[in-house]
Symmetry: C3
Amino acid sequence: MQAAEIAKLVGGDVLGDPSRVISGVRKIEEAGEGDISFIANPKYLRFHDGTQASALLVNREFETTRKDLVYIKTDDPYLAFLLVLRTFMPPAIRPEPGVHPTAVIASDVVLGANVSIGPHVVVGARSVIGDGVVIQSNTVLGEDVMVGRDTVIFPNVTLYHQTRVGERVTIHAGAVIGADGFGFLPRGTSEGWEKIPQTGIVVVEDDVEIGANVTIDRATLGETRIEQGVKLDNLVHIAHNVVLGRHTVIAAQAGISGSARIGERNMIAGQVGIVGHIDTVPDVIIEAQSGVSKSIRKAGRYFGHPVKEHAQALRQEGALRQLPDLLRDIRDMQRRIAQLEAALGVDAKE
Amino acid sequence: MQAAEIAKLVGGDVLGDPSRVISGVRKIEEAGEGDISFIANPKYLRFHDGTQASALLVNREFETTRKDLVYIKTDDPYLAFLLVLRTFMPPAIRPEPGVHPTAVIASDVVLGANVSIGPHVVVGARSVIGDGVVIQSNTVLGEDVMVGRDTVIFPNVTLYHQTRVGERVTIHAGAVIGADGFGFLPRGTSEGWEKIPQTGIVVVEDDVEIGANVTIDRATLGETRIEQGVKLDNLVHIAHNVVLGRHTVIAAQAGISGSARIGERNMIAGQVGIVGHIDTVPDVIIEAQSGVSKSIRKAGRYFGHPVKEHAQALRQEGALRQLPDLLRDIRDMQRRIAQLEAALGVDAKE
Amino acid sequence: MQAAEIAKLVGGDVLGDPSRVISGVRKIEEAGEGDISFIANPKYLRFHDGTQASALLVNREFETTRKDLVYIKTDDPYLAFLLVLRTFMPPAIRPEPGVHPTAVIASDVVLGANVSIGPHVVVGARSVIGDGVVIQSNTVLGEDVMVGRDTVIFPNVTLYHQTRVGERVTIHAGAVIGADGFGFLPRGTSEGWEKIPQTGIVVVEDDVEIGANVTIDRATLGETRIEQGVKLDNLVHIAHNVVLGRHTVIAAQAGISGSARIGERNMIAGQVGIVGHIDTVPDVIIEAQSGVSKSIRKAGRYFGHPVKEHAQALRQEGALRQLPDLLRDIRDMQRRIAQLEAALGVDAKE
C-alpha cells in the first residue's frame, strides 16, 4: 500500500514521497523498514528521532524534521492509525457456522441462522440463540438463556439460567454471568446464616464487552443490568441488582457492590471498590484503588479512601507528605512558646 | 393468596383488608398492583408514600399512614418477606438424577443415590460422590475427591485431587479448589525459585457456599480448612493452610494469605487483604478495602491500612481531612511567635 | 528411614540416636511419633518444647535442650526439610500418556512424544504440543498455540489463539491467557467506544508458574511477555503489552496495567496495583495493597498509596497516627500565643 493511498484512507496529507510502500503497522518504538506508525501522545515524541519506521501518522501541527520519513498529517493520528491497522490486519478468525457434534444442545433450543457452536458446548432447555452467534468450546448456557445476534462467547464461559445477552456482545473466557447474588440473613434463633433466594436475572444489553473471569451476579429480585456499550475488564465483580449506565467502562479487578447504580459514561479504574446502595451521576471518573462509600452527585474526577474530588485528594496527599516535617516544626514552636511564657512570666495552664 | 393467609404464614397482624389478593413479591420501589413488599431498613421509608404495592410487611412500631395499603405487622419484616418469597417463588430447578452419557467417570468412582451429573463432567479415580449431589456441565473433579450429600456444584468448576467437600455445600461456576499453594524458596546457589511441594489438601465443611471464580489453595502440609457455614463471595482468594472459622462471611475480591486463621463469625468486607500467619478472634468485622497486617485480639469493628479499631480510624480520617487547613494555621503561628520573640528580644535559636 | 540416612541426605549432623526411624514429615505443631519436622524461623521456637515430633531439622547454632528428640543440624533447615519432604512424598500423579477419545484435536495439530491429553480437551488448528506435555480435562487451546515440553496445564484453562507457552511451565485451573487487551477509544462523532483491535500475542517463557483464575491479556501490537521463572499467584491480572522480568513473583489479586515493564526479581505482594506505561528496575519489593503510579528507579522496598520507599512510608504512617493528638497540641498553642500577644499588646493580624 502506498503512502498516498493511506493518506486518502485516513483523510490526511502526505509530506514526503507519496509512493513509499508501506507493508506493516507497528508501535513507534518497534517499527522498522516498511512499517507505518503514529505519534498521538507527546509522551511518544522521544521515539521520533530514533524510529526506524518508514512513515508516521501525526497531527496537523506536528513539526516534521526528518527528511527520510514520510509524514501523513491528520486531525486524529490515533484514529487514523486504527483505520490503517484494520486495513492491514486480517479480520479475526470466525469459526465456520455449524454445531459441533460433541455439543449438547437441548432439543427445544432455538438456533438462529449461521450460528457457530464449538466442541463440548452445553445449551440448556428453551434457550434462544440469535443469528450469527459464536459460542466457543466448553462454554455452558443454562436453561432459558437468550443470546442476541452476532454475539461472540469465548471458551469456558458460564451463563446461568435465564440470563439475557444482547446483540454484538463479546464475552471473554471464564466469565460467569448469573450466579447467585451474595445474600444471607443472620438466623434469628440458631447460629449461622439463612440464604436469601436469588430469583432475579442478569440482563446484558447490546454492544457490551465482558472481560476474562468477570463475575456478574443475578438479582435477588428483578434485574442486574449492564446497559448498552458498557466495557468490563478482566476479573471485575458486579454484584446483584447493580445497574451500570450506558457506555460506562470499568478496569480490571474493580468491584461494584449490591444495588449500586452507576451512571452513564462513568470511567472506573482498576481495583476500585464501590459500596452497595449508592448512585453516581453520569460522567464520573474514579481513579485506581479508590473506595466509594457515598453517592456521587457531581460529574468529575474522584480519588482516595474514601473518594474525594481529585483536587481535594491531591491537597490532602500533599499535606500528608509534609506531616513528618510538621511534627518537628510543632515541637520547635512549643519550645519557643514556653520560652516566651517564661520570659513574660505568663502561666501557660489556664 | 390473601393478606390474611400471608399474615398467618409470617406470624403477623393485618391492618386493612384481610381479603386483599396478593399475587407477586417485589422490591418496594418496583412493586405494583397485586404485589407485596416490605420496609425493614429506615432507608427505604422514602419509598413508602409512592409505592404502588398492594401490601407491605412492616415492623410492629411502624406508623401506618396510607389507607389504600394493607399493612402486615411482624417482629422481623425482612425475615417475613423471605418466607413469603419462598412461598411465591418456584423452587430452584433441580436436574433429573442420572449421569449424562458424555460425562467421563472413572470406573472405581462411588456414586450415591439420586446423583445428577451433567454433560462433559469428569470425575477422577477413587472419588466418592454422596447421595443427591448435583454436578453441572463441564465441571472437573480430580482423583480421590469426596463430595458430601446434597451438595450442588455449578458448571466449569475444578476440584483438584483429594479435595473434600461436605454436605449441602454450594460451589458456583468457575471456582477452583485445591490448586497448589503459592510457595517458592529462593535458590541458594543459582538464580530463581525452588517450588515447595504442596502436598496438603482442602477441606470444605458442611453448609458452605463458595462464589463464582473463587480460588482456595491446597495446604503445603496438612489442610486448608473452610469450616461449617462459611460463605464466600465471588473472586475471593484463600491461600494455603488458611483456616476460616464457622459462619465467617467474606465479600467479593477479598484475599486471605497463607496460614492465617480467621475466627468464627468474622465478617470480612470486599477487597480486604489479610497477611499470612495471623489470627483473628471470633466476631471481628473488617470494613471494605482494609489491610490486616497483625493479629486481631479483640472482637469489634476494624478499618484502614493497616486496620485500626473503627473509632480510632474515624478519628484519624477526620484529622486527616483537617490537615491542609492545619498547615495554614501552623504557618500563621510560626509568624506570630517570631513577632512575639522580636517584641521581647528573645532569641529563638537555642 | 533412619535419622542417620536423613542427615546424610541433607548434609547435616545427628545429635541423638542415629538409628531412630522416621516415617513421616509434618509441621512442628502437627508432628507426632515417627515424624520429622524443622525450625527455621525463630517464630516457631515456641513449638519446640511441646512438639511430639521424633526428629527436628535445626540450624548449626540451635540450642538442643530435649534429650528425647533427635536433632539434625544443617546450614539451612528449611531447604533440608524440603529435601526430606521430596523423599517422603510420592511424586505428583502424572496421567498416563495418550489422548482421551473425547478430546477434540484438530487434524493438523503436532503432538510430541508422551503427551497426555485429558477428556474434553480442545486443541485448535496448527497448534504444536511438545514432548511430555500434560493437558488436563476440559482445557481449551485455540488455533496456532505452541506449548513447550513438559509443561502441565490443569483443567478448565483457556489459551487463546497464537499463545506461546515455554517448557516446564505450570498453568493452574481456570487461567485465561491471550484474551483481548482492554483497549477502547472514545468515538469522535457519536457516543460510545471504538474497540482497538488486539492483534498481538502472549509469550510465556520457560519455568513460569501461573495460578488459578489468572488472566493475562494479549498485546494490542507485539507481545505481552512473561519472562523465564516468573511465578504468579491466583487471580492476578496482567494487562496487554506488559513485560514481567525474569524470576519476578506476584502474589494473589495484584494487577499490572497495560504496557508496564516490571524488572527482574521484583516481588509484588497481594492486591498491589501498578498503573500502565511505567517501569521498575530489578529487585524492587512492593508491599501488599500498595499503588504504584510512577516508575521506580531504585531497588528496594516500597509501600503505600502512592508507593513511597518503605522507611518514608513508615515515617508518614507514624506521623499520621500522632495526627489527632497534634490537633489538640495546635489548638493549645494557638491559645497560648493569643495569651502572650494579649500580655504584650502585640497585634496578631499583619
